[in-house]
Amino acid sequence: MDFLSEHQPELLPGKRKLPPVQGAIEAPHGTTIVAVTFPGGVVLAGDRRATMGNVIAQRDIEKVFPADEYSAVGIAGTAGLAVEMVKLFQLELEHFEKVEGAQLSLEGKANRLSTMIRSNLGMAMQGLAVVPLFAGYDVDREKGRIFSYDVTGGRSEEQGYAATGSGSIFARGAMKKLFRDDLSEAEATTLVVQALYDAADDDSATGGPDVARRIYPIVTVITEDGFRRLTEDEASGIARSVLERRLEQPDGPRAALL
């Protein structure tokens, strides 16, 4: 990063001059990302829709990326900028690991991402915000952890579950009612798909599972064995079983009243 800013600063997102703006810039935006911890790891998932105003810009965008072996980033906000930010973030983690011979701590990674979001503040003020969700397995503390961010780079660690993006309000509501601290990995992956379904149900910018086109949410699991993205078969299996239950109960599982 330091090397890059010295030699080719134009490659860094924060170092570009902003064009003068007339009106709002229309660029594809990514929408909902959710994360849930379970004993032994963390699950990070995202829907597949990108919107540009009222238009669906892309149906099968991928918004969850591995940052390194033990962490992943899910992005909401301006897709182009976010993807570039993730690419640079991945590069930096890998570069550090190779040069120093050791991985950054999970805290260190989260802090680094925070600085990168802050450097994008100028763009964010013009409506091109990037708000990621960072999840990883902390090898030292042996548990999954989630970090959420705001546009100014403010970082906060979330306990249990978190969501970001336009559908996050609905997803968070769903997770609040379904979350327990003794979830298994399989239950946690089902929970995130339920939450994404609820987000898609009430938020027009979030895409639900698309059975006709076989587009299902991206679900990733990070445990002490490292990062793993569920295969299409696994993800479609979960999405289909959720869908099947919703045919009987359109609002999903009910929580107890008291």
Binding site: L4, L11, E97
Partner: protein, 252 residues
């Protein structure tokens, strides 16, 4: 002012080469061998912290003999070059050939510039391909030349003798355990022909394993995994050796 003595350019270069060679010869040798599923790096290294081998990029590994601070400098330069390339263009655009060229330029410039002392290092840059035929191994001596190697290569103090030994015994399609055994045998032969034992704790071993599912193929082999492979010697089957490489987390 006194007139400086005249030294012919040939003599000056010969002196510098002699100086560099002597520096390299003081260090311990290391070997790089092709095996069925990739490329293995083996060297004697009493230090756990100062590595002789390292990852440069997805499929590219680096090995160096000589002065630590000098090759560490080159290694970090290489990582920077590769990461910058990969970020600007694409991960596939980072190749061992390109990297070897950059190293050759750097070493050559330093070697022939009068103000600087020549680097006392000898490098190996290796890239593992999809098939053994696509593997590339380059050896870069102190003067900035590039030697394209196949099968096996040795650098460091005892390099000539070791590579002679390896050339006779190395064959294509060896398993990891076989290649490792051969490498250790070659390293444990002294200049006078006598053999000595190198304990597993003093060995540094790393592989570029083309069967690894991740993009990054470089992996260090340490501890229990290493002793298991050493015990397995050349006696057992390839499948067991592969299982060994697969298991166990990354130690990087």
């Amino acid at each position: 002012m006194s007139t400086p003595f005249y030294v012919s350019p040939q003599q000056a270069m010969a002196d510098r080469a002699e100086y560099a060679r002597k520096g390299i010869a003081r260090g311990r040798s290391l070997v790089v061998l092709q095996y069925a599923d990739g490329i293995v790096f083996v060297g004697e290294n009493p230090s756990r912290a100062l590595h002789k081998f390292s990852e440069i990029y997805d499929r590219i590994g680096f090995a160096a003999a000589g002065k630590y601070n000098e090759y560490e400098n080159l290694r970090i330069g290489g990582v920077r070059y590769a990461d910058l390339r990969g970020y600007t263009y694409d991960r596939d655009d980072v190749t061992a050939r390109g990297l070897a060229n950059v190293y050759a330029q750097t070493l050559g410039t330093i070697f022939s510039s009068v103000g600087e002392k020549p680097y006392e290092v000898e490098l190996v840059v290796a890239e593992v391909g999809e098939t053994p035929e696509q593997d590339q191994i380059y050896r870069l001596p102190h003067d900035g030349s590039i030697v394209d190697e196949h099968g096996s290569v040795a650098v460091g103090g005892n390099a000539e003798q070791i590579s002679g030994y390896l050339d006779q015994r190395h064959r294509d399609g060896m398993t990891l355990a076989e290649a490792l055994k051969l490498a250790v045998q070659s390293l444990s032969r002294d200049t006078n022909g006598s053999e000595r034992e190198i304990p597993a704790e003093r060995l540094e071993v790393a592989v570029l394993d083309r069967t690894r599912p991740q993009k990054r193929k470089f992996k260090r082999i340490t501890g229990r995994q290493l002793s298991r492979l050493l015990e397995a010697g050349g006696a057992e089957t390839a499948s067991e050796a592969e299982a060994d490489t697969e298991s166990g987390g990354d130690v990087e």
